[in-house]
Each structure stands twice: as C-alpha cells, then as structure tokens.
Symmetry: C2
Subunit: 430 residues, 2 copies
C-alpha cells in the first residue's frame, strides 16, 4: 500500500482554488509521475460558505490556518495567504516547528525572512519550496537552482511583474497615457484597486531579492533593492523609445559587483534585438547569465490561478519524489550578507526627457550642464518648432556614472526654461 | 569526512573537455551546492597524447571506454562519445549493468533506445540523465519533467538545431542562397563537413522524439517522426516570408492527437508575433504548452562546449544531491507505444512557391487544381511581369488537410507551365 502525500492548504483565494482544481483535474497523471497520489487533507480560509467552484468534500476545515499548520494530518503545508508577516508567517512557523514541509507562493515572506526561514527549515530537515513566488508558472527557481547549478551566475534579470508589462505594452500599442491604461487594466482584473504594490515596483523587488539570493548565495536583502516604478512613464517616452529602437520594460536586475550586490528595479530602455524586448502583455521572463551556459531566457505567465498552481504543484511533486533542494541552493549557514552596491555608482547609458520652453539657448544650457559633469551625449531629438511653447527634448547619453548624471540633471532642472522635472530612464545593455 | 561524487568520463571531445573545465573552474561553488566535491577519477578517449587544454593529472586513463565504465572507481559514468550504437551503447550498458548512474549527451541513443535503457536503469536503481541531449544549455528536460510536471502537456515544440537556425537567420539577414551560407557556416565551425545530420533534420528529430516521450509518457519513437530538412529553402522563400509577416524556422513539433502521436520536424512559417520567431542565430528554444501553466518558452545556446557542459554538470549535481527522477517522468513499465499520426492527416495552412512560365492562364490552372481539392486560397503574390520567363508565384492557403494539399500539388506539378517542383512550407499557428 503506497502512502499518499498529504497536504494542507492555507488560503483558498484564486491560487488556492487553482491548486485544488489542478490536483483534482490531473490527479491520475500526478500520481503516475509522483509514484503516489497527492491528497488534500485539510484547508483553511476566511469564509467557509463561499463557493469556490471546487469540491472540498471529506477535507478537514480549519478556521485558523496556524492551528491547521500545527494540527492537521499532513506532510506538507501549502501557504497561500500572502504577506511578510501576520497569519502567513504564523502558518509557516507553525509548520516548520512541527517538522512539516512548506510550499509557498509568498514572495514578501521570502524576500524579508528568506535566510532565517531557510535556516529553520534546514534545522528541521524540511523543504521550504517557493517556485510560485517568482514569475508564476515559469520554473525560474528550478532553472536557477538546479538547471544552471554548475554555473557562476554573472547576472540575473527579468520582467517580473505582469501588471506593469501589460500596462507598458498597452501604452505602446494604443498611444494612450498611463492613467487611462491603468484604469483599463483595473477593469480587466490585471491591476488591483490599489495598484501601488505592482506599479511602484515593490512586487518586482521582492521577486528580484529572491532571485539574487539564489544566484549569488546571499541573504535575501529587500532593503538593498533600488526601486522605481512606472507611474512617471509618459506616452511621449513610449513614442521616443520606439523611435530610438527600444522597448520600455520594468526590469529587475541583479549582479555581484566589486562594491557589492547590485539590485535594481526600474523602467529600462531595452534594445529591440534582445529577447526580452518581445515579452509582451502579462507575460514574465527571467534571464540568467552563467559563465558556462551563457544566456538562458525563460518566458511564461507570471500570475493567475493556473500558472501559479502549476508552480505550487511542481514543488509538491518534488517533495513527493524526494527531490529536495537547499532553500537557496547552499546551506543556510553559508548565505552571506553582501553590502548593497549604491545606485550612484551605476554605470550605463541614459535616456533623458525634458519639457522645455522652446526658446534659443535652451539646448546650449542643457548640453553645458552635461559637459561639466563629463556626460557624453549620444543623440538629441527636438521635434518641430513651437516658439515659446512647451516641447519635449530627448537626450541619450553614452555610458556614464549615475552620480554624474544626477548632478547634471539637478542643474538642468534648475534652468528657467526647463518646465518639469526631467525624466530619466536607464538604457540597458542586455 | 564527506565522500566526493566520483565520475568517469567517456569521450574527451569538445563537450568532454568542457565538462573537465567546468568541474575544475567552478569546483568550490559546485561543492557548496552539492554538499560534496565532484571528482573525476577516470577518463577514456581515443588519443591519450592530444592536448585538450585541461589537466588530467591523477586521473586514471582507459583506452577502452567500456572497460572504464565497468571497472573504474566511480559512482557515475558520463557518456560523451555519441551515436546510437557502437561504443557509446557499450559504455552505457556496462555502466548500468554495474549499477552505476549514467549521464549522457547522446540524443541518438535516447531516441532509439530510450525506453529500453530506462527500464534497465530503473531495474538497477540507477539514474539515467540526459539534460545535455536536448537543446544544450537550456534545462529543457528539467523544465518539462519537473518544472511543469503537474500539467497535462498539450504540445511541445521548438528550435532544436542551432546549425539550421544559424543558416536560416543568415539567409534572411544577407539575402544569400542556402549553399553560400552553409559554406560560411562550415568555415565558422557552425556546421560539420558533412552537414546532412543537421540540415536534413535528423538531429532535431532525435531531440523531438525525446521531448515527446517525456511529454506524453510514450516510448521514444524516432521512426514515427516526419522529417524534412532545410536544403530546399530558397532565398526567394525567405524574402516572401518576411513580406508575409513570417520567419522561416526549422521546428520540431509534437502533439498527442486522436489518431496518435504527431511528431514532425520541418521548416515552418512562424508568425512574427510569436516568441520563437525572434530566436535567432545558433540559439535554440523549447516551448511547452500545459493545460494549467499555458505556454512556457525556454531559450538559450543549444550546442557548444560551455552550454553542453553546463547541462551535464547539472545532471551530476542532481545525482549528487539525490534528486533522482524517473528517466521519462513515469516508470518505464508505464511508457506506452503510441501509434504515429500520419502526416497526411495534418491540418494547417500552407505556403506554396511555384516557379512558372509567365503566361496567361497559369494562375487559372493552378487555382483550379486547388479548388478541385477544396483547398481554400488565402493570398497569391506574383511580382512584376516577365512574359515567357520563369517567375515565382507564391500562394498561401487557409487551413486544409495535408493529403488534399499534396493531391493538388501533384496536379500542379504536372502542368507544362510549372517549371520546378513546387515548394511547400507549413504555416504554423503557434
């Protein structure tokens, strides 16, 4: 008699219900690939009476998820509540304390307390798996931790937030401004009522901190991520990007540098020739650069019930098969505290968009400010003539240091003829 | 005292030397991620004196690889000789007979004898790992077998041969004919002196048969793959493809249909909007479509010392960590013999290029032949007028059955005014 893998699910929102559906719909195939059935023995959610379109017959119900994590008859606790603390944290703590494996989709929790939880899991001989926490259905964690494990990782980056990618894609396709497209996305369910977590880059930062920890053997350091969102991207910027041969993407980028771990999330100008430029709509992509393998790109749906459930179930199947991995690829005791490389030291090319009064001498003042900071200009575009009206001027620079760029922009912003705060978008060499 | 993982390597060509370099160069990092060092204890190759740019000090040398597989002091035998039979087969047989794990990059062996070898490995409690056999550095096997394991796979397809993709990319960029670009590729080392294995689609067929077995739980069936290569793609076809909004790619495509397992390798017209259209040069890509996850695309280098070594070492690290998988995801005894779906039953749209004598009535004869087979025309292009000269005529059809298309083409080929065999390229809805 083969013993099933018994799981308890905390949280029955979109993802939780998706996991129940997947385990039911593909039960036979999963059992064949696992060597045994995966059975849900207990669940916990806020409202017992809510219709979730899934059958929970014969499954124990717990009103309190932490109690379930401690007491339910299960091998694995699946945490799908979310949030860096509160109930999600209590569930994971309770499960690990009881020596139960944990599968979670909780990026905030991993980004804030990853190293600490990894140490606890390791101490208890438990798996702490989190494929669903980064890039939804893309097996990005598995690719990085196992598939490319022989490589020294040189850089990891990606499109880690589907909401932002959808908005930027729609802005380009329709030419409409950010606010309108965001409102549409909210209507379609691609953006939350309070969209700040997505559009201000926080969600992408959590995911990047996890990828960086895994890639570089560091303790996840969310505080070390430089974060900018997409609120300030104008329809004008999208147009100029197209004209210059770029797409604007919100990227998360991590790299180990001489001054420390570089982690940044911000809009980027991405050359059209690079694969990630063609990742559109709600799709995510994760790019890993390794010293032997070169560049490996993984693309797929970064959110939604089906893709996220796919990732959760992959973790369950690994546990069922005994394919355990270290949480962050190496023993928790070996994870290091890397200093954060300051964004001021970043070197790269820049796109700058100014709104200026169309008047003789403006460009001379602007270029003088750049010259004084030794910022070398690559191109300048000013379309048409509209004497005394407000017009956009776009500059692109050669590689320069961020600190110099910022000093130049301070002086430019102080010019009488510069009517709005300059917009800066980093041009990425990918 | 932690025991190292001891490996013996059969074959020290490009890939074998790459594995030695990778294990040496990243030894510390690999040991940290494996929990123990990975140590080469024995090697075998044809010429002992050849300089491979790697140190083999202290490593046992065997002139006969099969003897090494049987006798060397090792846990894993790495087979990098290649070929469906002969020495490669003897090495794998000898290793498994001794209860040793096998890691191989040998696609021909897996495609021809995968199910049989899987059964032997399983019976001996050994791992038979072959990440390097498909798509080089892309962890395509891991993604399909583990990362997306919860999904019923609906289709798997990809650009599986870097030589062909390089040639097709160069033809498009330069407008030069196939033969010239092939000669260049040979000079650059991207194509073999005898290129038929690559350009006739045989290599891609091997890889597709492995992916299909894994995706659908079938016995690898190389004989069931419909194979066409890229020799007949003309510069004209490349130009028309661009004009029509397509890229021409050699794809391997597998799908389970009502009439059996569909496996086909042939040039395809791929819409520019699909991610795979932008996979260029020597890069490979594997696309998996699962019922819950949707579409997941993995892209990277499909060949070369570094990427292939990366895949071999990932397999070694999985073995070291005890992350064993079933060879084809399910027990070998459950792998089924699926009948091959005949290509005649394929339904899809087609691109047809004719070389005709420019004369009144030609198009009427051609379209009548199509009409009689109920093939519905989508577009027709005939550029310019050159009375009585040979000119290309390009037709695209709506979805139709391959058998009907072929009957129509037979009649078209028999027309006096059709001067060359019609060229058919399938248009893929991806």
């Amino acid at each position: 008699m083969i013993k099933p893998l018994k799981i308890a699910i905390a949280g029955l929102g979109t993802v939780g219900a998706g996991v129940v559906k997947l385990l039911a719909g593909n039960a036979e195939l999963i059992a064949a690939r696992c060597g045994r059935p995966v059975v849900i023995t207990a669940v916990s959610a806020r409202d017992r009476r809510k219709d979730r379109g899934v059958s929970l017959e014969g499954v124990d119900w717990y009103d309190d998820a932490a109690t379930m994590a401690e007491r339910a008859d299960c091998d694995v606790v699946v945490e799908l509540i979310g949030g860096a603390d509160g109930m999600a944290r209590r569930v994971v703590d309770a499960a690990l304390a009881r020596g139960r494996h944990v599968v979670t989709a909780n990026k905030a929790l991993l980004a804030h307390a990853g190293a600490e939880l990894a140490a606890v899991a390791e101490g208890r001989g438990c798996v702490l798996a989190y494929e669903a926490a980064v890039a939804g259905g893309i097996p990005a964690i598995k690719v990085l931790r196992e598939g490319l494990a022989g490589n020294r990782i040189q850089r990891v980056y990606g499109i880690l937030n589907g909401t932002c990618n959808y908005i930027l894609t729609q802005m380009r396709r329709t030419g409409r401004p950010f606010g309108d497209v965001l409102a549409d996305a909210q209507r379609l369910g691609y953006a939350e009522a309070d969209p700040s977590f997505d559009i201000d880059g926080v969600d992408a930062a959590h995911k990047l901190a996890i990828l960086a920890a895994l890639a570089f053997g560091t303790k996840a350091d969310i505080a070390g991520v430089h974060v900018e969102g997409i609120r300030h991207i104008g329809a004008t910027d999208i147009q100029f990007a197209t004209e210059l041969g770029y797409r604007i993407k919100l990227l998360g980028i991590a790299r180990m540098t001489e001054t420390g771990l570089e982690q940044r999330v911000h809009p980027c100008m991405v050359p059209l020739e690079t694969p990630i430029a063609h990742v559109e709509d709600v799709f995510n992509a994760v790019v890993v650069e390794g010293d032997f393998v070169g560049r490996v790109v993984s693309e797929g749906r970064g959110a939604g019930a089906g893709p996220t459930a796919s990732a959760v179930v992959a973790d369950l199947m690994d546990i069922s098969r005994g394919r355990a991995s270290m949480t962050f690829a190496v023993p928790a005791s070996r994870l290091v505290d890397a200093p954060a490389a300051p964004i001021d030291g970043h070197r790269g090319a820049y796109y700058i968009r100014l709104m200026v009064r169309d008047r003789p001498g403006v460009i001379a003042d602007v270029t003088a400010a750049l010259r004084d900071q030794k910022v070398s200009l690559e191109s300048m575009i000013q379309r048409g003539r509209h004497p005394d009206a407000m017009v956009p001027v776009v500059l692109t620079t050669h590689e320069t240091e961020e600190a110099a760029m910022r000093r130049a922009l301070q002086r430019i912003e102080a010019l009488d003829t510069v009517l709005e705060a300059p917009r800066l978008i980093r041009i990425e060499a990918l």
